[in-house]
């Protein structure tokens, strides 16, 4: 059945690619194809100790598949970790496709084809059980993303994605080679690693390669360009779903392949492996710097891109700390981020669909015009800012608890401050786009755009009330790493430090809300226009038009304080490295003379060296 | 150089107060020259209505911080619709003074793009600071005739 799935996907790619002139038909076909991974996911739910209801028993996908290829065996098999990340991707993907059906008015066949190919690559990555399969599908995913970036048509985005994608692939490939060199096998399960420096080098290379996809600083440079210059449904999938693959890779190799005990053997600091400690510090820095940069953006998509970088930093912190608490927190944050960031990008797409604008300073007052889009993004924003009326809080809470448990004295304040900084940019979106002066007389977004947004909001509310269900999901994953899930009931989570009872919060909030509502209903009210506003007595209608929207340069004092420190961004750093590389490169170029005679001499020299080395060995 | 040295025809009213009477086409030149010679503060532009002569007197007042000297450049233009060149290219703040004088006296300043209503929004009558405008009569005919609010 796995082969059938892949075959259907490939057929779907060809069909929708041919249907370029009929975007609606192509979209509907792509939507049906995109549902297949979700059904596969359902049929594999036994790996998470979930029994399917009887009416879904007919779904019967095989759980593993092997194919003998020259150097090794290609193995695809479902694992709890793969299942979890497949849950994120396969529930997000159909929604994104559904959103695209009304979003694209023409020329969409290529988009759907590339999207299906991306999903196929991700599907393979999540099931891969050996490095060969992993790398093949990784490349399929990377190249089909490139196709989608090229559709955006921005040169800087393409160049930065291409160079960083190549860097990522190189790092991963080099790491894989070192691992193969060490163990002589591609299959994860057959690897027996020891605490040698070679393995440390390999795992460092692999993790930094995945960090590119996960947009960890300073590898994030490509992300703002790609996020802000590509088509919105794709960006939603890229930020919400595909960026998680980087963290999937980090988790797979750090805890699945290498393992916590081996990580500890390279040195620990207060019970945390130094390797993880440095990852956590990088994550905290990413969370903080991403937040500060997000506050300074005026382009809605760039703001969301930097916010994405910042929020993904939290996952890195969790993966770095590596206790069951922290891993649960990291996975929870991954789940939340998938849904809320996808909703926000889709909402940005819906706003663009109606107004044709992305600049926050040019938008305004859409909250009353597009109430459902506004409410969906409000929930997403609550989740982003970790307000305890969505599940976003539980994830951050777990991460804070994990950090305090391991006495991360300097990382935790940075995490918390990044959380407060999130309020700043979140309010910039709220005010700049949805509140304030109504500048556009537009209709609500079409239903086929609203439905995906609201379906994606649902998990945020379900896991608010029952975070225990989520902890249940993590239990099989942690079992694989010889850890036990954190103590919990469906609606409480206990740690060694404190307890979090969601029912208490929700019922108390409902109670106080009723109290406030009674106060509020005590007196009647009349609605007034936004023009009837206190402007020191100045009646706005006396003049032609005064803009009452103060969203241009909204955080100017903030920028004045922080901009000097962020002026020389990571981009500058890479430019310096590039300049250094160019000096080296131009030296190297002298070798390539273009004369055949010279090349033959090189080949001869190479063989001589090889033979000499072999003889001496 | 002090104003007295620049313009021999200037008369000194008292110490530190110079008055230059001139024609309207020379004003720009004089202000420019004074500005270049440390009279860099443009104090104000005022207008006097000499109704018996049939003239408006425009007074450009400048001040030098270096010499502590006040210079008044006075010109006279006809009351009946003679216009004046705008000096806003020399000092941007002149624009507002010109706007006010335009509203209160009805003097037209050529080259000032901003001669719109200033304080009197929608004023339909003769500019009120002209001496032939009878403000007492206007007040009696207008403000005192607005009816009281009658209570039944």
């Amino acid at each position: 059945m796995i082969t059938l799935t892949i075959a259907i996907f490939l057929m779907g790619v060809i069909v929708v690619g041919l249907l370029n002139k009929y975007p609606k038909t192509a979209g509907i076909i792509a939507f049906f194809v995109s549902l297949i991974p979700f059904f596969a996911l359902l049929s594999w739910s036994s790996v998470m100790n979930i029994t399917l209801p009887s009416y879904l028993q007919f779904l019967n996908f095989e759980t593993s598949w092997q194919y003998n290829l020259g150097p090794g065996t290609l193995i695809l098999q479902i694992t709890p970790l793969g299942w979890f990340f497949l849950l994120l991707l396969s529930s997000l993907f159909p929604m994104v496709i559904l959103f695209s059906i009304s979003y694209f008015r023409s020329n969409a066949g290529g988009f759907y084809a590339a999207m299906l190919l991306t999903m196929l690559g991700s599907f393979g990555i999540l099931l891969a059980q050996d490095m060969l399969t992993f790398y093949i599908f990784w490349e399929i995913m990377s190249w089909s993303i490139l196709a989608l970036v090229i559709r955006g048509g921005d040169r800087k985005a393409i160049v930065s994605y291409l160079s960083f994608g190549a860097l990522s692939a190189m790092l991963i490939l080099f790491g894989f080679m070192l691992l193969y060199f060490k163990t002589g096998t591609f299959v994860f399960a057959e690897m027996h690693l020891d605490a040698s420096n070679l393995v440390l080098a390999a795992i460092t290379l692999i993790v930094s390669g995945f960090a590119v996809k996960g947009a960890l600083m300073p590898m994030h440079v490509w992300a703002p360009h790609v996020y802000s210059k590509s088509e919105e449904p794709f960006v939603a999938f890229l930020s919400g779903g595909l960026s998680k693959l980087g963290y999937f890779g980090i988790m797979l190799f750090m805890y699945g392949v290498v393992g916590f005990s081996l990580l500890s053997s390279w040195g620990t600091f207060r019970g945390v492996p130094l390797f993880g400690y440095s990852l956590a510090v990088v994550g905290a820095f990413t969370a903080f710097a991403g937040t500060v940069l997000a506050v300074m953006q005026d382009d809605l998509r760039k703001l969301l891109a930097y916010s994405s970088i910042g929020q993904l930093g939290y996952i890195a912190i969790g993966l770095g700390i590596g206790t069951p608490l922290a891993l649960t927190g990291a996975l929870f944050q991954a789940l939340n981020h998938t849904f809320f960031k996808a909703v926000l990008f889709l909402a940005a797409g819906a706003v663009y669909y109606r107004t044709g604008k992305y600049k926050i300073s040019e938008l305004g007052g859409l909250g009353y015009k597009m109430p459902f889009t506004f409410l969906a993004s409000l929930f997403a924003i609550f989740a982003l800012a970790a307000i305890p009326i969505t599940s976003g809080f539980a994830a951050k809470w777990l991460l804070y608890e994990a950090a305090i448990e391991k006495k991360f004295l300097f990382v935790t304040p940075i995490m918390l401050i990044a959380g407060v900084g999130a309020f700043l940019y979140v309010y910039k979106i709220l005010y700049g786009v949805f509140l304030g002066e109504p500048r556009y007389n537009v209709k609500e977004a079409p239903l086929s755009q609203l439905v995906p947004m609201w379906i994606l909001v649902l998990p945020l509310i379900i896991f608010l009330i029952f975070p225990g269900w989520f902890v249940d999901l993590t239990a099989p994953i942690l079992q694989g790493y010889e850890m036990t899930a954190i103590p919990h009931t469906p609606y409480t989570i206990n740690t060694s430090l404190a307890k979090y009872n969601t029912l208490a919060v929700i019922f108390a909030f409902i109670g106080t809300l009723i109290f406030a509502f009674i106060l509020y209903l005590s007196k009647p009210q009349e609605k007034v226009d936004h023009m009837d506003n206190y402007l020191a007595g100045e009646p706005p209608e006396l003049y032609d038009y005064i803009s009452m929207h103060a969203s241009s340069k909204y955080y100017e004092p903030f920028e004045e304080v922080f901009y000097p420190y962020f002026k020389r961004g990571a981009e500058r750093m890479w430019e310096i490295i590039l300049a250094a590389g160019e000096v080296f490169g131009s030296g190297a170029r002298k070798i390539y003379t273009g004369i055949v005679g010279d090349y033959s001499i090189y080949i001869l020299l190479f063989f001589l060296i090889m033979v000499g080395w072999w003889l001496l060995w | 150089m002090m104003a007295k040295e620049l313009f021999p025809e200037a008369q000194e009213i008292r110490k530190g107060r110079i008055r230059i009477e001139t024609q309207k086409d020379k004003v720009g030149e004089i202000i420019k020259k004074l500005k270049d010679n440390s009279y860099e503060h443009f104090v104000m532009l005022s207008c006097v209505d000499w109704i018996k002569e049939g003239k408006f007197e425009l007074v450009y007042q400048m001040w030098s911080y270096q010499y502590k000297e006040h210079v008044m450049i006075s010109i006279k233009i006809n009351r009946d619709g003679e216009s004046m060149l705008s000096m806003r290219h020399l000092f941007p703040q002149i624009e507002t003074y010109e706007r006010e004088i335009h509203e209160m006296f009805g003097v037209n300043f050529i080259g000032n793009p901003n001669l719109k209503e200033f304080i009197l929004e929608g004023w339909p009558h003769m500019p009120p600071m002209r001496k032939d405008f009878d403000t007492e009569k206007f007040v009696k005919d207008f403000y005192y005739k607005i009816p009281e609010v009658k209570e039944e």
Binding site: G537 | L120, P124, P128, V149
Partner: protein, 182 residues
């Protein structure tokens, strides 16, 4: 609690916590700092200077009003929420005061918005201002400070007067006069 008692309670509350917005048009604003600060201290009565009309209960018009200013005064007055009270400061708001023959200042504020208490004087001393506050309390207590009700009731007339003043046109004044005769 029946309606009568309720409105009485509301009156008491509104008396003891008058938040004011003062519209600093003329020299009258100069007399407000002593009233607010330690010499006279109007916070004793629970009075408090507010920054916006939405929060305010009492409107202090402190001095003469040009027609352009009147537009702003009307805007601010209409943004205040009921019950609201107006205190007219000094002679200027009563009959124009020293601006009696000015072409651009209105002469009688009560033609344009209802005024509950006038303070005579040019300018009124802080004692007079405090006295006016006490007078206003007294009126609120007795239910006599009904300017805001009058504004609702005779809204047409107030609006007509405001429109006339904004237009500066003598003929409009005459037209209304003739209409009234008919």
């Amino acid at each position: 609690m029946n309606h009568e008692n309720w409105s009485k309670l509301a009156r008491i509350m509104s008396k003891r916590s008058l938040w004011m917005i003062h519209f600093c048009t003329g020299c009258g604003a100069m007399e407000m700092p002593p009233v607010m600060t330690s010499r006279y201290d109007m916070e004793r009565f629970g009075m408090h200077a507010m920054a916006t009309p939405r929060q305010a209960d009492v409107f202090l018009v402190t001095g003469y009003l040009a027609v352009k200013t009147l537009k702003r005064v009307v805007q601010v007055y209409e943004q205040m929420r009921d019950p609201k009270y107006v205190i007219g400061f000094g002679s200027c708001t009563i009959n124009g005061g020293m601006y009696w023959d000015s072409y651009n200042t209105i002469k009688d504020l009560s033609k344009y918005i209802p005024v509950d208490v006038y303070i005579a004087g040019c300018m009124p001393r802080p004692e007079a201002i405090m006295d006016s506050f006490l007078k206003l309390f007294d009126m609120i207590d007795k239910g006599e400070a009904i300017g805001w009700q009058k504004y609702h009731k005779y809204y047409d007339q107030y609006k007509r007067n405001q429109r006339m003043a904004f237009s500066y046109r003598l003929d409009e004044v005459k037209d209304i006069k003739e209409d009234d005769k008919e």
